[in-house]
Symmetry: C2
Subunit: 478 residues, 2 copies
Amino acid sequence: MIGFFPDERAPGPALLDRFEAMIGASHVLASAADMAPYLVEPRDLYQGRALCVLRPGSTQEVAAILRLCNETYTPVVPQGGNTGLVGGQTPDETGRAIVISLQRMRALREIDLASNTMTVEAGMVLATAQAEAERAGRLFPLSLASEGSCTIGGNLASNGGGTSVIAYGNARDLTLGIEAVLADGRIYRGLSKLKKDNTGYDLKDLFVGSEGTLGIITAAVLKLFPRPAAVATAFIALPSPAAALALLDLARERCGGEITAFELAPRIGLEFVLAHCEGARDPLAQAAPWYALLELSSQSADGLDERLLQLLENAADRALIRDAAVAASLDQRKAFWRLRDELSDAQRHEGGSIKHDVSVPVADIARFLTEVEAALAAAAPGARLVAFGHLGDGNIHCNVSQPVGADKAAFLARWDEINTIVHGVVARYGGSISAEHGIGQLKRDLLPSVKDPVALDLMRALKATLDPNGILNPGKLL
Amino acid sequence: MIGFFPDERAPGPALLDRFEAMIGASHVLASAADMAPYLVEPRDLYQGRALCVLRPGSTQEVAAILRLCNETYTPVVPQGGNTGLVGGQTPDETGRAIVISLQRMRALREIDLASNTMTVEAGMVLATAQAEAERAGRLFPLSLASEGSCTIGGNLASNGGGTSVIAYGNARDLTLGIEAVLADGRIYRGLSKLKKDNTGYDLKDLFVGSEGTLGIITAAVLKLFPRPAAVATAFIALPSPAAALALLDLARERCGGEITAFELAPRIGLEFVLAHCEGARDPLAQAAPWYALLELSSQSADGLDERLLQLLENAADRALIRDAAVAASLDQRKAFWRLRDELSDAQRHEGGSIKHDVSVPVADIARFLTEVEAALAAAAPGARLVAFGHLGDGNIHCNVSQPVGADKAAFLARWDEINTIVHGVVARYGGSISAEHGIGQLKRDLLPSVKDPVALDLMRALKATLDPNGILNPGKLL
């Protein structure tokens, strides 16, 4: 096939005029000041340039934009709440790309209580989706640190995870159907509410998690759940990650489907939070090496606290736990969760931090953590591993804080080296170097070293099939 | 690309020799008698011919076979337990295809209790997988009528459903990773145990549900669950499907995650079972228009029967139910389930039956059934609609028995006409013409009339990308 070279076909001003005609001049941002918030991601790791930022108001407008971009070989970077942690939402430095912000497309199209579904546009903020579900007497369980600003479209593009995955699954599992615009502007209309539909290939899951490289998700049908009638939360002191795993097993045996969170944190993480977060206090009298935050939820109001207490007593009898506090009020529950939620942020006050979003098979977590700790101690003595996260999903964020008093820049210069060490242990356990954040720019060059080569070939073939001109989020993921 | 015409390149005898060299002569079946069981499906709807039936013993052997088939443009029909209901496992009548039976590949490769996973080969029978899980103290919840002979590979290729979908999801949801051989013989190694892995496109779900048209699944990592400590089962008389939906809502509110089955059946279906199944008896004193089989399961042994009874009392207070029997023993539970499980088979004794495997949004089921009933009454007076199945999934099998005393052949000759009527109502509700059985040959020609044209285009593009020579299960699905 004969193509045009992009530079011959993407004359900036002419394109801008055509975009303005499509979606209205006020929704085409082209000045440096207007574009600035869209071109840098929150942690300042990536900064890009763009021809313009477009804020379409409808699926049809997104389709029109993509048709033109495809014809003119103009790179397109889709963006939701701009909260991604791997640079997937940031354009490169050439300034040739356009950014499409979905933030204006934030309508609740429908809520269907009998089907327990909610149809929302991609730009709806996650917290808004949670609130809409709550207003209707339902639960939309996806819950992330950035829920106040991240959008459903971004959640789906990156297959967001968070603390409720153990009970409800990740963004993929919470989505019944999607609407997406393809690279050439065609609209895939897959807004199905069906729980079961075996009429062909699973297209929905091809787009979910594809980080905007195969199409732009414009709307989704999300699953809703009953709101729990009772919630019981415990902050638990443990001797080791192995004990935490045994506690999780015991909880599964006793309370099965009632476990809605099981988060792990090390003492050093708690200490950082206690030191740097105003008002934070340790719920337990004595320090312990590890902590778990366990939450049970139930549809029947009766007996949940008792079941939690009984579980904790049994666990204490088996020496799995050292101590535990059960939240006696909503305020206490919030205080326990704050200790968990601030773990990542608290590290900022301890100098440089080299982050890992890894997962291994749940069974291997304890051995995995021991090996990571030993490997880091050998390579970077004094570096402080804060290994916390979603134990039940095998997803532990192994964030490494610099040694006390070390030079921040010198420590951060070892980013790739430390990554290689941690990811080496991950590989030995058949784990993942991106459990929930995606690949984006940050891990793109790591992918070939960890991925089955046939899987990589298949991914490249799918990309070439769905986006033959390579306009969709180029340089991301692949 | 220049290709060879199949007939020039697939000289039967030469191919047979090469297959024998690959997998051993005893595993290459070429006589009519040896091949017969593989060439006809259980209901006799489809009968095909084949060059030979191959029974490889390893993934490497499957890979070698596919490499040769791809080079020689030889069509390949993968087959598991040969229990599919849409002809997906039957070759066409040209006799050019080879059948690859996965039945020899039935090993349990690993069971990992800490990770709650089981790695099995594709040819393992579903009931064996259930038994292996049970032996290890776990539950593998997939449950289908054909579980005694269907295989895991077939379950995954067709994304099997069944009665436990409401609680545990379908085959797709129960699978963490797969190994699959591609059309050209490359092996995709995706046997991941990870609960979370956001490193690229979701390839697993591309193969699951693709009915053997994109690759041959050779092994899978399946999710295991704790065995419930208590199960409570009720056989419930209801005035209407709308009341059944309201009961399901109430059950969700009260018992949430404990609902492990919610099946609907009409009086006429029960009557067929009572008339034709030896020993079957009505658990309730008075006839009712509709019945539900509700099962709750719990990890805690205490109080489940009481919760079920309380739910039923509440439902009776609201006039949602007319009567109910709660199983007091395992035998009673089995007897209730038999009334459900025999519904389809019992219809055979009532003459011709035109079947539909449809789903609609759960909220619309009552209206949908009213419309189907009216449309059938107008078009085929006296025909008896037996609408039963998985209410909680929106998946009702609308099987239509011939009028009493009518001519069977004449009734069955109206198959397409009756399909069109039922599928027309399905389409008005945004439903699916194949909720759980797949497309195969049976519904292939219906697909274009019900599927989003962009979705169809995408499916064809994916097929061309993954199977450029079109050797994998040609004529099925697309």
